[in-house]
Symmetry: C2
Subunit: 306 residues, 2 copies
Amino acid sequence: MTRQTFDLLILGSSSASPTSERNPSAQLLNIAERFFLIDCAEGTQVQLRKYKAKFQAIDHIFISHLHGDHFFGLPGLLSSMHLLGRKQDITIYCPKELQGIIELINKVSETTFNYVVHWKFTDNTGLNLLFEDSKVEVYSFPLKHRIYCTGFLFKEKPLPRKIDKFKLDQLEVSTSEIIKLRKGMDVINDNGVLIKNEEVTLDPAKARSYAYCSDTIYNPAICDFIKEVDLLYHESTFLEEHAARAKKTYHTTAKQAAEIAKNANVKKLLMGHFSVRYGHLESFVNEASVIFNNCELAIDGKKIEI
Amino acid sequence: MTRQTFDLLILGSSSASPTSERNPSAQLLNIAERFFLIDCAEGTQVQLRKYKAKFQAIDHIFISHLHGDHFFGLPGLLSSMHLLGRKQDITIYCPKELQGIIELINKVSETTFNYVVHWKFTDNTGLNLLFEDSKVEVYSFPLKHRIYCTGFLFKEKPLPRKIDKFKLDQLEVSTSEIIKLRKGMDVINDNGVLIKNEEVTLDPAKARSYAYCSDTIYNPAICDFIKEVDLLYHESTFLEEHAARAKKTYHTTAKQAAEIAKNANVKKLLMGHFSVRYGHLESFVNEASVIFNNCELAIDGKKIEI
């Protein structure tokens, strides 16, 4: 059996303003065919089209904070979803003021969407469960930026135990019993034979996790929330040579992002939200690698399997 | 002497939603190095960069109405102007509700631009002077759409008379006297000779004009406002086969746009705001040409000299 999908498509990696190569922040996360849009800069709907993502499949949108480079694409995306026939509900997880903006825009344009928008407001007092279903949990947690801002943590639910097919083939077990075995239960088959779970199952693959941290000043306190994630996206707006500017504007350098990755003991660091002042980005990897080896750049259009 | 610049750069020609080839409505008009941005769909700042237009040179922005495909790029453009160091005032001519949207966005993002935005609200009761300086006049006029909407009329001021250089070379005339001659006055030179204006000047070129009509239902009443313009941009969202849909949604077909061009006796018709349902656009020209011969398509990136 192949593992369920868990991949991340980068739709934007610039900070503040778009450049000719980089759109500002947006990402599409696919966990087991649940499509989560994370931030939605101006141009996100075009990026979704460009990279062949089906935007009507998105049922959950997460907005970290209300600087324009993280949400100016939302009115247009919601409008296109409406115009192209969406009927299905959508849920937006965001700072509470966003609802007023979208509702004001709809009011002046005399628009009523043909689908329902559910608003769920983040809070930045701690780890806060926003969404869960049978396969996924999503939490927000506080980030320190110039304005109210949260990160997001996406976790697979614990996966079912693996069936040891070789052993099971020698026993008579029904489909419903297999489901129980995958949940970790013992079963008794039709012949009255007790089958102990540990004899026919193997530990499942470890549930995977992804954390999104943009925008934030260097803040080791977040390590509690993102400990040991498989992939950490952490903003790296600046290089260390601009550390003073990073601090002043509540952003992070590549070196600082690597410190966070190291302290949180994550598997891999993904850097993005690059200042438009940098044309080439190799220095970000060079700088971070000294502290934390397994790091890479968010590049528009790149898909990362987690 | 070459004539002053009067050209139009198409930044978007789609209606409603962007497609892979067409962004929604935005145009940049340059009259004598005054840069007028007309409508500002999502992605306009990227289009300006793509087509090498200097967006900090824009001091006047005209928004026809508050459907998203005509203004969702404005928050991002204003934000980028701020972030990239703009200090110069900008004036936005628009429906009055737009100010509240921009101010709400700035409030929640705790942003104060480093430049002043002047708001001038259009009114749709008739031809309404919005702006004038020594070279240009701009008016709004009413369009009939689902929501409040205006068109815009841009006119060169009457141009100065042309000097007949051959005749003038035989007379002694100072620079300040030439300025008076170009204004149509007679002058007396340093030798006391009266120089009659009609003897040394020629009629100036006719002042040019451009009218922008998007979005609107077919409405011959607008011909009064756009009579004999050199270039008429008229929305042509649909082909005649979808005339019923055009009427229902307060839009226009290519044939109807051509009727307007013919009745208003304009020099040239430019069609745009194409519905996303049409992949190829030749039919728009074919349909309009039967009624009005001199017509062409708005295509993203096309520059039209007027």
